[in-house]
Amino acid sequence: MKAPSLCLLVILAFCALGEGTALAQVVPDIPDVEITGEYGPFLPTLASKDGGEVDQLISILHWFMAVLFVGWGIFFVYCLVRFRQREGHQAKYEPIKAKVSKYGEIAVAGFEVALLVGLSMPIWASVKNDRPTEADNPFRVRVIAEQFQWNFHYPGADGVFGKTGAEFVDTAENPAGIDPNDPGGQDDVVKGELHIPVDRPIIADLSSKDVIHSFFLPVMRVKQDTIPGMRIPVWFEATMTGIFEIACAQLCGNNHYSMKALMYVQSEQEVEDWIKKASIVEEFDEDDLD
């Protein structure tokens, strides 16, 4: 381990000589971001208002599955032991009248209907149809996926998203492709971090610039594919502040695995301050540097 890193340092030092002051600031002490919440072999921390319903359904389903499997398994093992081939034991030709199995199947089907109609459909309907209204004062953000990063487009102080178009896209300076001549787009902010207020409905409009990605917020129980050519909204409401991870859940190319972004759930004021700060374009004035 030591020898290669030593070599590396030497090489870096040579680079630094050539580069002059540019590399003088090698390795500043930037602490790693601490992710909020607990993660383990079960569902992660829940941080959204409506995600509880999804959790509840998953938990009911697993109890149901466990009961079925154990019940079924007991019968299975009983048969294997009781009817194993041995001296003096013979199979019976006549089929048994298995009423129990018929009732069992009806019960399973009935329970499935109950799950479907009673739980899954209402949850899915609320996920898909209960879009927050203007009265709910939703916080709006656009999410633009690309290989391999998430861009978050905030409307800025005027609350208006600038017009966008593929022809304006510049990966370095205008990743969202905002029309530079559109007055609505002048104060727009596009960043690689999602900052949202807590306890306020969020509407995120998802789109993709290239291939299919999937916007996955594990702690919010939110997942939605981003399909190029479509703008698909999702909504949720965060109930706890903290820093959470945003994952891409659909294979999108070589570096799919590194397509991660951070979501900061903050107070209303903090989000406002951050957007204000982010809207200032910082000038790189050290002209001597490349």
Binding site: C15, A172, N254, D290
Partner: protein, 244 residues
């Protein structure tokens, strides 16, 4: 899957053949000059690039700036950095040896270094990753073979070696850090140079003759100039005047 020894042997034999055929002379000719920028430098302010997406970038270089247009404001007249100047016409069908030393492209601080460079067709290009993060190198050539590969780990020793064979000027970008881009010019001859902090370029060793020089800039396009050189130094300036 050739190993490096075979490649080296083959290229040495090629050099020998080229040298024996005597098509090229290393004359002491020099073409020099500068690339002048005319216009309002204030229109082209460099922005600080937001690298917060990947904390490992900041760990290498706290602040990086846009490299699209860099104007050397301190020179008089103002000059333009990162302009690729090369001989476009006038060499005829002459052949020149391919340098055996590889050109090195380094990724450091989530930026390419150098940002614009030339390479001789057939010369090796070695790509190193100096960052403690995953980089994806995506070549977007017009004539050469497309490459798209990853370097998920820091590696300043071996790197990945690529050979470009066709004359071409194209962009290379990183798909993980979308702001990262650099430009490569591939030439059949070694007479090219990129302007730096003083905005000058120097081409050496071409045979006597009259040449068309081409200056290429990623944002402002191309400019050409004619120059004659006979046993000495010729001087020629090129000018970019955006909006004119």
């Amino acid at each position: 899957m050739f190993n490096s020894k075979t490649v080296a042997t083959v290229s040495m034999v090629t050099f020998a053949l080229v040298a024996m055929s005597g098509v090229a002379h290393a004359d002491a000719n020099v073409i020099t000059g500068k690339v002048i920028f005319k216009g309002n430098a204030g229109d082209y302010k460099r922005k600080v690039i937001d690298t917060s997406k990947d904390p490992n970038c900041k760990k290498a270089k706290t602040k990086i700036g846009s490299q699209k247009v860099i104007i050397n404001k301190k020179t008089t007249p103002m000059t333009l950095r990162n302009v690729l100047v090369s001989i476009k016409d006038g060499l005829g069908n002459k052949m020149f040896p391919t340098p055996s030393e590889p050109v090195v492209l380094t990724q450091f601080g989530c930026q390419y270094k150098p940002h614009v460079f030339g390479i001789v067709a057939g010369q090796k290009l070695k790509i190193l990753n100096g960052d403690n993060t995953n980089h994806n190198i995506h070549f977007l050539p017009k004539k050469n073979q497309e490459h798209n590969f990853t370097q998920p780990k820091k590696d300043m020793e071996n790197g990945k070696v690529i050979t470009l064979v066709e004359e071409d000027v194209f962009k290379v970008k990183c798909d993980v850090h979308p702001w990262m881009g650099c430009h490569i010019g591939v030439f059949k001859h070694p007479f090219f140079n990129v302007t730096g902090k003083d905005g000058t370029f120097t081409l050496t060793g071409m045979p006597d003759g009259t040449y068309t020089l081409e200056a290429w800039h990623e944002e402002f396009g191309k400019q050409t100039a004619s120059v004659t050189v006979e046993g000495g130094t010729a001087n020629v300036d090129l000018t970019f005047e955006p909006g004119a």
